[in-house]
């Protein structure tokens, strides 16, 4: 399958910090989850791919367009929807006016067609009924959906979502998952998140980033399989475990190299993720 995004050797430094270190990726249609601890470089990678910041080294293309040139960057932006970690709004705008404003910025200049498109995306994120309400009067979850609508307007082929479910209650998160899954049906979505459940439920592929480097790139099932035979149950916390915690049943769930005869458990995606981070030298015990 032809990749939507093809990146090779992306590197970027902020002062003395190496935010990205030789990152290479190929993203195809569907939802790809980007997992990693705080400071792993997830947001930086997303900002680079969204053409918000150029890499120090390396190159990438989006739908065949190279953002290294001004014209190529404009072409990339025509194919791009971006939901940043902290989307801000002009609070006096209504939901409709704000998405319309973004649509104008995206060069949808025909008023009739633009308004139809704005109504379409607001319906898509289930905000059709409140489109005339001022953004400052909307709940946090609704505002996040306004931001998603702004990212979706113009029907971009590549959607970049930076932790879109942070701060949402379980119901809102569930609704957001539906929206992301729907958005991923016809396009390429890159979803940065701390929530392994989001990745398990939504993504056909997962990339783990730590220390600015790609530590894993594969399917959620492959990441889960990394923890096979390394999760076990015990009545006491196993001191030899990389991580261990008491579960709701009172027994301990341990992660690491199990002792002989241990009561092995079915691993989860989170187990695979934590073990991958441990291999990268990250602090698993803190998880």
């Amino acid at each position: 399958m032809t990749p939507t995004v093809s990146a090779s050797g992306l590197s970027l430094r902020y002062g003395g910090t190496r935010a990205l270190d030789d990152v290479s990726l190929r993203l195809t249609r569907g939802v790809t989850g980007l997992l990693g601890p705080n400071g792993a470089g997830k947001t930086t990678l997303l900002r680079v791919l969204a053409t918000a910041v150029p890499p120090d080294r390396g190159a990438f293309t989006v739908l065949g367009h190279d953002p290294a040139t001004s014209r190529g960057r404009q072409d990339v932006r025509r194919s791009l929807g971006y939901l940043p970690q902290t989307p801000g709004f002009h609070p006096d705008f209504t939901a409709f006016e704000f998405v319309d404003y973004v649509a104008i910025l995206k060069e949808l200049t025909d008023r009739g067609a633009r308004h139809r498109e704005v109504r379409r995306v607001l319906e898509e994120v289930d905000l059709g009924d409140v489109r005339g309400r001022r953004i400052k009067r909307l709940s946090g979850g609704m505002r996040q959906r306004v931001a998603l609508a702004a990212a979706l307007v113009g029907d971009p082929g590549f959607l970049v979502l930076d932790e879109p479910t942070v701060g949402l209650d379980p119901e809102q998160r569930m609704r957001f998952r539906e929206l992301i899954a729907q958005a991923g049906e016809g396009r390429t979505v890159l979803l940065s998140t701390h929530q392994t459940e989001d990745v398990a439920m939504l993504c056909n592929r997962v990339v783990v980033l730590a220390g600015g480097q790609v530590r894993f790139d594969g399917t959620p099932a492959e990441l889960t399989a990394r923890a096979a035979g390394q999760v076990w149950s015990s009545t006491e916390r196993d001191p030899g475990a990389l991580a261990g915690w008491r579960t709701g049943t009172g027994s301990f769930r341990n992660l690491g190299d199990p002792p002989t005869g241990a009561d092995l458990l079915e691993p989860t995606l989170e187990d695979g993720y934590l073990l991958t981070l441990d291999g990268a030298g990250a602090e698993v015990a803190a998880a």
Binding site: Y14, G15, R47, A50, T51, A52, V53, P54, P55, D56, R57, A59, P67, A68, T69, S70, R73, Q74, V76, R77, R78, L80, Y82, L83, P84, Q85, T86, P87, G88, F89, H90, P91, D92, F93, E97, F98, D100, Y101, V102, I104, L105, K106, E107, T109, R111, A147, A150, A151
Partner: protein, 232 residues
């Protein structure tokens, strides 16, 4: 042909943007600065007789500074992060904001000058140069903050910097470089040559920082494969 098409697209977007961008202008901050400026020059009318020309000149300077503090908020954009990867370039949006504010500023300054009795009014051209330079300085500071920092609304810190700079310039500039002189001072002409330099420098900085924000430290860095520096 494609270049022409690109220009047409920019013109079309600018036309459609005018009203929306007008609503993103921080009118409250600008209005507050304008009102404070008007009050400053109006206050002496409460007393008897025309104000002292030196007082009138400094009130005009104070009014210009108050308006400039409002202008420090002009480039604030709460939706900045969300609108990073759009095709309409930032200079188009900035240009439209300035176009909205410029006629308001001209009307306001005319009103401010009119509030000063004619016999106390300093040379209009010179004091307008001072006001223009102060405004340009505030816009240059705002553009620099947008370019070098990730903060969507740097207005408060920019306004604080402009105010501090103005106070320090009044207090610390050496006698021979003084900017704040009276019309009967022999340094009046030289001071306004310096005001012209301040205006030119501010416009230059504004021009350099205006088009596309860059990540901190990227200004002097060479880019592989050409002119990537960019964001919105």
């Amino acid at each position: 042909m494609k270049g022409v098409e690109g220009d047409r697209r920019v013109r079309g977007v600018s036309g459609a943007l005018v009203w929306s961008v007008g609503r993103t202008v921080p009118w409250r901050a600008l209005g507050a600065g304008a009102v404070v400026g008007l009050l400053l020059v109006w206050l002496p009318r409460l007393g008897d007789g025309p104000p002292d020309p030196w007082l009138a000149l400094n009130l005009l300077r104070g009014a210009a500074l108050a308006f400039a503090l409002g202008l420090a908020f002009l480039l604030d954009d709460p939706a900045r992060h969300l609108t990073v990867p759009v095709t309409t370039r930032r200079w188009v949006r900035t240009g439209l904001r300035v176009a909205w504010v410029a006629p308001v500023a001209v009307l306001w300054w005319t009103a401010v000058l009119a509030l000063i009795p004619e016999q106390a009014r300093p040379p209009v051209g010179a004091v307008t140069l001072e006001a223009g330079a102060t405004a340009a300085l505030a816009l240059a500071a705002a553009a620099t903050a947008v370019r070098l920092a990730d903060e969507p609304e740097p207005g408060p810190s920019v306004a604080a910097s402009v105010l501090t700079t103005a106070i320090l310039a009044g207090l610390l500039l050496p006698h021979r470089w003084s900017l704040f002189v009276s019309p009967d001072d022999p340094r009046w002409e030289a001071a306004h040559e310096r005001w012209a330099v301040v205006l030119a420098a501010a416009v230059l900085v504004w021009g350099v920082c205006g088009p596309e924000p860059l990540r901190r430290g990227h200004l002097l860095r060479r880019h592989p494969r050409g002119a990537v520096p960019g964001s919105p």
